[in-house]
């Protein structure tokens, strides 16, 4: 039940995407997200989807796994769609009671679905192909320049890697605690919202107790090994750019430039706009 959450999960297999330097993947995600939010015409989206599909294909992660992550944001997605559908001003398509759906609303809603889906899929593919440790290493090194502004990058990265490391542990623990309480006749499914919330108390109390105990143990273990902040710590596997990373950067930037240029090129945008007015507004 809880295992369905795939955001932040790692999928173990071998692929080019898994071997890429985490910095490439992180910057790639950022650029991809920026790109998909700048498109103004369908050509941009088509290019984005082609790019996304290629990356998914390269990652060897089953598509089922990536779409599973979408389930978690289904509610947000639905809400966005509803708000955009009803609250965008423009030419009315249908109207009933006090609500009006406009052509523009449909267009905006569709765009939002597309953008959010691509955003989630794009970032899931990065977390699915990068181990949490690798991810924080990438962040630490990639954001290293922030040290000039006195941001404790090393400490933040350590906190992040601990937090990420604890997610699967706590999920597993929750699963076990739920089972232990189910065995004692607990019921998490029936009843109204209040009853369901109250049913969670027998799970949350042992979970919190255990999380605090684990945190204490970890702190003690770190102190016993003389951890004193991130400065001067060396890595067992330092991040070094390889040839494939350079190629990936080139491909990435090429995609960025081309897709944003095409996606915002006024000739294409105007063409689609006139098509739209011709077809719908006559």
């Amino acid at each position: 039940m809880i295992r369905d959450i795939t955001i932040g999960q790692y999928y173990q297999t071998k692929s080019v995407m898994h071997r890429l330097d985490p910095r490439v993947k992180l910057l790639g995600t950022l650029l991809f997200v920026i790109a998909i939010f700048t498109y103004k015409n369908p050509v941009g989206y088509v290019l984005g989807i082609i790019f996304l599909c290629t990356v998914i294909k390269l990652s060897h992660v089953p598509i089922k796994f990536i779409t599973k992550g979408l389930k978690g944001i289904l509610m947000i997605l639905l809400l966005t769609v509803l708000i955009n559908l009803f609250l965008t001003p423009g030419t009315a398509l249908v109207s009933f009671w006090k609500l009006t759906i406009t052509y523009e609303g449909v267009a905006v809603a569709l765009t939002m679905i597309l953008r959010l889906t691509m955003l989630i899929m794009g970032s899931s593919i990065v977390t699915l192909t990068t181990t949490p440790n690798n991810l924080t290493d990438g962040l630490e090194k990639g954001l290293g320049f922030m040290k000039i502004f006195r941001v404790p990058v090393g400490d933040v990265a350590m906190m992040m890697s601990i937090a990420l490391r604890f997610i699967p542990i706590l999920l597993e623990e929750t699963d076990r605690i739920m089972k232990a309480q189910l065995a004692r006749g607990a019921d998490f499914e029936s009843g109204n919202l209040v009853k369901k919330a109250r049913a969670l108390v027998p799970v949350l109390v042992p979970l919190f107790v255990s999380a605090f105990r684990r945190a204490g143990d970890l702190a003690m273990a770190m102190e016993a090994r003389c951890y004193r902040g991130g400065d001067g710590r060396t890595k067992m596997k330092p991040l070094i750019y390889k040839k494939r990373d350079v190629i990936a950067y080139i491909v990435l930037f090429a995609f960025m430039v081309i897709s944003i240029w095409m996606g915002r090129w006024s000739v294409i945008t105007d063409f689609f706009n006139s098509l739209y007015t011709d077809l719908i507004l006559k």
Binding site: A180, A183, R184
Partner: protein
Amino acid sequence: MPLILDHVSQIYNADTENPVKALDDVNLVIPEGQFIGVIGHTGSGKSTLIQHMNGLILPTSGNVYYNGKDITDKDFNKKELRKHVGLVFQYPEHQLFETDVFADVCFGPGNIGMTRKEAEMAAFDALRKVSFPEDLYYASVFELSGGQKRRAAIAGVLAMKPDFLILDEPTAGLDPVGRTEILDMVSELHKTAGITIILVSHSMEDVARYVERVVVMDKGRVAYDDVPREVFSHSEELEAMGLAIPEPSKIARQLVKNGLDVDPGVLTSEEAADSIYKALMKNR
């Protein structure tokens, strides 16, 4: 009513590249009144096996029957099953949550529809049965010692008055004295209350002394299912599975090899001492 596992298989992570076969075609019949030991190395599938017995995990293929009903049926009432088949997990910390021990033990019986009064009576009875120290009935569950937590956890399930009691590694993390106490208590429950006990352990020593039937799990399959004496006669095979036979049996076997006429099937140190004494007397 017996509990029957019929060709039960369980595959974890079936949709990934590394599926794990946790259970592989397991067949077991557990009649009422037995005291059964389930042993196996870490990852042999014993924990997965017992979770099938009260419907916490449903088999990937195969069926589990209780009381003549198939518990894998969609409309089967699992809460009703859990009333009859109690399961105590390895870590008592995973289930203790109330402000005091007594309230925590009342949680289970309250869930299965007992009135407050009935639940309190059941809780009191259960705490007595596990010989929980009376002055700690209203102590916080987080202040108890390891052995006391274990007792409180067992009482929490026992208060639901189950016919089957499954205990997952009830002695893990306890000192030798605490271990014997818990196992003696469990054995007493079996004798006096007539509860069917399924004791999961990786310690042969624990199991040998108390149980009447041993199920050995290896790589998700049932490797042996027999009386302890028979099972422990396969010492080489057991060692290959990473399981050591009880120390007294080991010594007795070695003595037989060296020509002393000892019974190789002894299970406890008392039996071994007896048998060695007899053999030595005969030789005189």
